[in-house]
Symmetry: C3
Subunit: 422 residues, 3 copies
Amino acid sequence: MASNSWKSNVILNVLSFLDYKTGKFIIAKSKRVGTLYRVIQLSIIGYLVGYVFLSKKSYQAKEESIQSAVITKLKGVAVTNTSESGRMVWGPVDYVIPPQGEAVFFIVTNFIETPNQKLGNCAESPGVLDGFCKIDEDCAEGESVKAGHGVRTGRCLRDNGKSSGTCEIYSWCPVESCHKPQDGHERMSMLREAENFTIYIKNFIRFPKFSFSKANIQDTDDKFHLKKCHYDELLEPYCPIFRLGDIVNQTGHSFQDMALKGGSIGILIGWNCDLDRDHSECQPRYTFTRIDVNGSSESSGFNFRHARRYKSDSGQIYRTQFKVYGIRINIIVHGMAGKFCIIPTVINIGSGLACIGGGAWFCDWILLYLMKKREFYKHWKFESVKKKDSNSPNITEHHNSPTEDTKQTPEEQQLTDLSTEF
Amino acid sequence: MASNSWKSNVILNVLSFLDYKTGKFIIAKSKRVGTLYRVIQLSIIGYLVGYVFLSKKSYQAKEESIQSAVITKLKGVAVTNTSESGRMVWGPVDYVIPPQGEAVFFIVTNFIETPNQKLGNCAESPGVLDGFCKIDEDCAEGESVKAGHGVRTGRCLRDNGKSSGTCEIYSWCPVESCHKPQDGHERMSMLREAENFTIYIKNFIRFPKFSFSKANIQDTDDKFHLKKCHYDELLEPYCPIFRLGDIVNQTGHSFQDMALKGGSIGILIGWNCDLDRDHSECQPRYTFTRIDVNGSSESSGFNFRHARRYKSDSGQIYRTQFKVYGIRINIIVHGMAGKFCIIPTVINIGSGLACIGGGAWFCDWILLYLMKKREFYKHWKFESVKKKDSNSPNITEHHNSPTEDTKQTPEEQQLTDLSTEF
Amino acid sequence: MASNSWKSNVILNVLSFLDYKTGKFIIAKSKRVGTLYRVIQLSIIGYLVGYVFLSKKSYQAKEESIQSAVITKLKGVAVTNTSESGRMVWGPVDYVIPPQGEAVFFIVTNFIETPNQKLGNCAESPGVLDGFCKIDEDCAEGESVKAGHGVRTGRCLRDNGKSSGTCEIYSWCPVESCHKPQDGHERMSMLREAENFTIYIKNFIRFPKFSFSKANIQDTDDKFHLKKCHYDELLEPYCPIFRLGDIVNQTGHSFQDMALKGGSIGILIGWNCDLDRDHSECQPRYTFTRIDVNGSSESSGFNFRHARRYKSDSGQIYRTQFKVYGIRINIIVHGMAGKFCIIPTVINIGSGLACIGGGAWFCDWILLYLMKKREFYKHWKFESVKKKDSNSPNITEHHNSPTEDTKQTPEEQQLTDLSTEF
């Protein structure tokens, strides 16, 4: 090829770069396929607009990792009267463990007190399986009692006449009495007033991706209202002060049962924020669930032991051990924020359009392989470039092969008749 | 159709499977639409390359759920001098609650001490609204004082001559004096030296999806440097030792105010890691924010009460109650890791290409419905397959209908003239 | 144009809306490009089906923000014998800090006891650099000793004859002896039995997006089994009771070392749930890692101080300070749930199809710019709409320009010859 022709070629190519090239279409007057295609087209567009964008808001970038800080404060007083320590007043200082207002805390509603424990030898409590013995040999010295209170001294203590007893152990004596709190006269939990304790929850959240911060206490709220309001799902959905009794009831459990054996409750604070809307619409939703029951209630209940140590003037340490039953509150904050973002929008639109293209491909496939007139349509859709001397692609022999020409033409004729009748 | 023809048909289909079929295009010499199309094309490619990939790194799979473990250790000594307990030394053992180095902890900077409380009867503090009374009937026996310190005994205590007083309650007596810490001579917080306390933060993180772990303490750091360095945003951005005073200042609040009434501070540790880069580039960023002020400063301030119990040799329990004000530190770790992943890459490229296709559709629409020469273009773009005996699609009558032929041809003639003049 | 023609035009347009318009293709009998295209097509489809859907399950909506509540309970008894406080029994009450069964807790395995500390003046411990002095002037009164135990009184205490000593400080005296726990006879940690302590972990999780909840304790498990089983990676992968010794061993560290100097261990509970499967297949996986060692073991080890306060009958406060070394357990729950969702499915399919389209574009590019017969293919693919009076696009001069016709035709002729030889 001559170089000057190439030059012009280049120039013309540059020019023709701005020509608009658009695909050539053939109109297959098949109303069936046409309708099918339109249906596909419309259903995808409908899905895109109705479901993806309006319902699911997929035009938004989502943030699921929420930052949260929780401060809690309890109020309420209870009085107990026990044989061990007489009449006692319980304030938040006494019944909240730990006292420093964390997101996970424990409220004492019931307890077994074992006062004046001293280090020494005494009998393992009969409640401990591993503590039983018939003879001293059952109590190997120095071995600790499995799930027990101390280490064996080597002696087996039997009440006179009895054939079996429990090993003597070196431990904090006397060991805790193993009676369960629901035995006998103690069927009721001891801090009955716990039902009226109030929990004040301050929750501060932040969505780092959008650097959006909010608290569950509104700036606008008048402090006086905050002082006296109580959360109520319908009346006071945004009041951050909760009655313990209400919380337990909302989980569908009885307060007295729970107070007796203890339990673990989750206060879920959900923040679902559409940051395209006004920020004031981003509000917490509180839900309450008991998290220590999964089917079998046996595994439920919550208690732990702690001790207070004292020293006599003689310098000897003694302690009061408490086995406390109560309600463990677990404040779990979760949330999701969404804000318009171009990338997910383009992705959804783009893939939607591509699926419409896929629909077209599907319709082509029906047109060219299932329809009665498929050969005819194939013939029109596909133009063979083998020949040069044909006047028009339409009269070039069928693309499959020249050998068919003779067969083809009549067939096509008949197809055309059909098509005109159609 | 004869079966042998079918056979050849099949064979030829198999062969023609490897023929490359490409769409036939018409060149509409409309520079306007052509330019529009090129603009759309280029802008989408630019958006894809520049914004999606270079700026937003959307070729990466992202992980937002970071695993983190935090260990903290405080150093510093303060001395206080109070009427109640004289000169006292405060070490970390005394002012850090809880002491075991957690991610959420409290530093005492101020306190009200109420020593030698014993269980008994005394007057409710005048600070409690619900405690006021004029006559004994105002103090129903056994009822607990709302937001108060104990349960009413049924008597109303009035200083002689006064018409009103407060109910007598059974409680830990004497009840806490209600003077606020900022009254009178105590305008200053008590642990002034708290400003110089240092917090050593060890933070260990992990991105489970990429099983990538890191700590905020570099292996390379010489221990001696770690011992003496202090965090500074510019000079020492990676030193994990923080002066309490600096932290408060960075939140834009005055240390003395905060130390006086207490407050809650969040130390945000942000890990934004591009795991395609070298791991050493994955470094924490520390930011400090006060999280207990949202607009109204009334809701701010932080304090709680705790008590220390003692027993006299007579076995009677008495306690010292502390109402402690201080700074609650909340170490919040967040982060995001990204690593190249084929799926999001394909999704973004694919949807981008699809949008270019959408642009073509849009340009077609303009070409065929808005341009002056639309009929002419339609005629070329769409080839009717109704007729068989036409020499060429170009001369078949306009696709709309035969009835228009007569009208059409002159129109097209004229259009063509325009097009040639164009 | 006449209005009636417009009317009919409109009607016909409405009718022709249901005509199926499909792109016209030309068959370029280039087996090379055809094969390339098929390869691209198949590889994308293979990637989509095999990798995206089968392997990566990208047809699912994913949730990474898991809600979790953890309850822990320890069992085991240890005995220690120290000069300071003689023979002592350690139960969970004593060695678990804090005692209330949280997700982050500390197990005492070793300790230094400093009994009977009283507020007063004494010498700073020689272990503190900042405490050294030669003359009283080195001990400015009122200044606190950096990283020390108290505030200087202004005197420098020197053993007789010695040239240097340590400042006298006002502090809890005597100050803690600075001997490390691994010195001399104490090479072994004191709570050796800690190796056999057991940790019972209850973990309750929830995926808010799918409102799916589960616990690591199965409803079906018989309680008796739970009582006696021990976690074992192979035999008992779902038993929630862990031997402390096993945990440490699984991290690849020696228990005795760790018990001696302390350390921090992470128990990772991973929930990877395919919610399209049966819920019973959603099971936790436990992994154990030591999180306080990053390369340099110097930074490892974990300890903190706490004190127990007592009051003599004279009312003077004295305390016993414990520097406790031990194992800090950090239970970190992470997880991901996936459930079929139409949106990601459409996105992946759509973008896959679009990429196939991109492949076609790429093949076109090869066909039209790299192949020997490119001009010939261009000529067929692009149909110029400039002329009206041509019988067929195929014979219209080459789209580049009329000026080339003369040059073109022979060239094309020759190309055709090639193509027929091809």
